[in-house]
């Protein structure tokens, strides 16, 4: 393993490869490093929303097939995360938050991550197709391609809208879970997709506000780095307004009951309140970013809670006499 092999992960852009960087050589990577490549923290949310999509769908599914569907969603997400880390090995090394990942920390060869990512992704789509159905396998394949290629390779290094469009990658799991049960995609799973899609920018930009210097150092055109803080703060607020509308749509359209509707609207109003605090203040010192950190933390709780009440609502109404 030599320096050229690692610096080749900048894929010819030439803007990120430090000339004096010599990669460490590698003893065979530990299995824990392969596990770390799958981004286990992100997987929790992916698995959770996938399970929620599966439970919210009308109809029944055999527990073994349900387990297979969730396993495939997790494997697919893990595979695409590995591909993401393979491509961004050099960039990750420049950010404090990601510098301890297996590739930038020198515990794994980039090529191993590439092979692992492709293998895991292909396996997940194959098992989903054979074991569950080919519609959910197709959506899973699109989700993997969306994250690994459209977001990681194309959008993230090139446009400050990376998170806006790239957020779609994380929005697929409930649709896949739904399709695993029903074999089709209706309006409710599309609204669940939209919910995560619209939730992602304020969630991620809140984080980007207080780790801005890290992204700037790595040359990633995140919104606060490119468009400035004021514009990002306003956009966080307006996306939160749209989020409220999307979260309120299912009960208003009669797709869910108010067991989902009331808590979802209340949670969205709290989200909007926190986003308003972020949206209309002027503070650029990362040490004084308490509202931004609050919004980021709440946004995670928000998504878990909204999907949990959705499942509760669907289970209650599914069990109710017609």
């Amino acid at each position: 393993m030599n320096a050229d092999t690692v610096t080749s992960t900048d894929h010819g852009t030439g803007q990120l490869a430090p000339s004096d960087y010599i990669a460490p050589d590698y003893i065979a990577a530990d299995w824990r490093d392969f596990y770390a490549l799958t981004k286990p923290g992100v997987l929790k949310l992916v698995i959770f929303t996938g399970i929620c999509g599966l439970l919210a769908a009308p109809g029944s599914i055999h527990p073994v097939i349900a387990f297979t569907a969730i396993l495939c969603i997790a494997l697919g997400a893990g595979g695409s995360a590995a591909l993401n880390q393979w491509y961004e090995g050099e960039i990750d090394g420049r950010m404090k938050r990601t510098s301890r990942r297996p590739i930038p920390a020198g515990r794994m060869q980039p090529q191993s991550a590439l092979h692992f990512g492709i293998g895991l992704s292909a396996l997940s789509v194959f098992i989903m197709g054979v074991g569950v159905n080919w519609l959910s396998a197709g959506i899973l394949a699109v989700a993997i391609f969306y994250y690994a290629v459209i977001y990681t390779i194309w959008l993230k290094p090139n446009t400050p809208q990376n998170i806006v469009i790239g957020g779609g990658a994380g929005a697929f799991p409930p649709v896949i879970g739904w399709a695993a049960v029903t074999g089709d995609v209706t309006l409710l799973p599309i609204l669940l997709f939209a919910l995560i899609f619209i939730w992602t920018p304020p969630h991620f930009w809140a984080l980007a506000m207080f780790v801005k210097s890290d992204y700037a150092k790595a040359g990633i055109p995140m919104m606060p780095v490119v468009a400035g803080e004021k514009s990002t703060r306003r956009q966080i607020f307006w996306y939160s307004v749209v989020l409220l509308a999307v979260a309120a749509a299912p009960p208003l359209l009669g797709l869910t009951g108010w067991i989902y509707g009331v808590p979802a609207i209340m949670l969205s109003l709290i989200f909007l309140g926190l986003a308003a605090k972020v949206g209309f203040r002027q503070e650029s010192d990362p040490k004084k970013m308490k509202p931004e950190k609050q919004l980021f933390a709440f946004s995670i709780v928000y998504l878990f809670a909204v999907f949990a009440v959705l499942v509760a609502d669907r289970l209650v109404y599914a069990g109710a006499p017609a």
């Binding site: 393993m1 030599n2 320096a3 010599i22 990669a23 460490p24 050589d25 590698y26 003893i27 065979a28 990577a29 530990d30 299995w31 392969f34 055999h62 073994v64 097939i65 297979t68 396993l71 098992i127 054979v130 074991g131």
Partner: protein, 52 residues
């Protein structure tokens, strides 16, 4: 630091031991994953046959 200085010395017993330990643990995890896949495919087959 040069490339040669970076390269692990596989003649060093400690490095070799570490390499073997990692290879062994990876092989065990891979074995468990394969057994899991076999069981999963078996169960899927049983369920699918039951469905038809």
């Amino acid at each position: 630091m040069t490339e040669d200085e970076n390269r692990p010395d596989y003649n060093d017993p400690e490095t070799l031991k570490k390499l073997r330990e990692r290879q062994s643990s990876r092989a065990k995890v891979m074995g468990l994953c394969l057994i899991g896949l076999v069981i999963l495919f078996y169960l899927i087959t049983v369920v699918k046959i039951g469905m038809t």
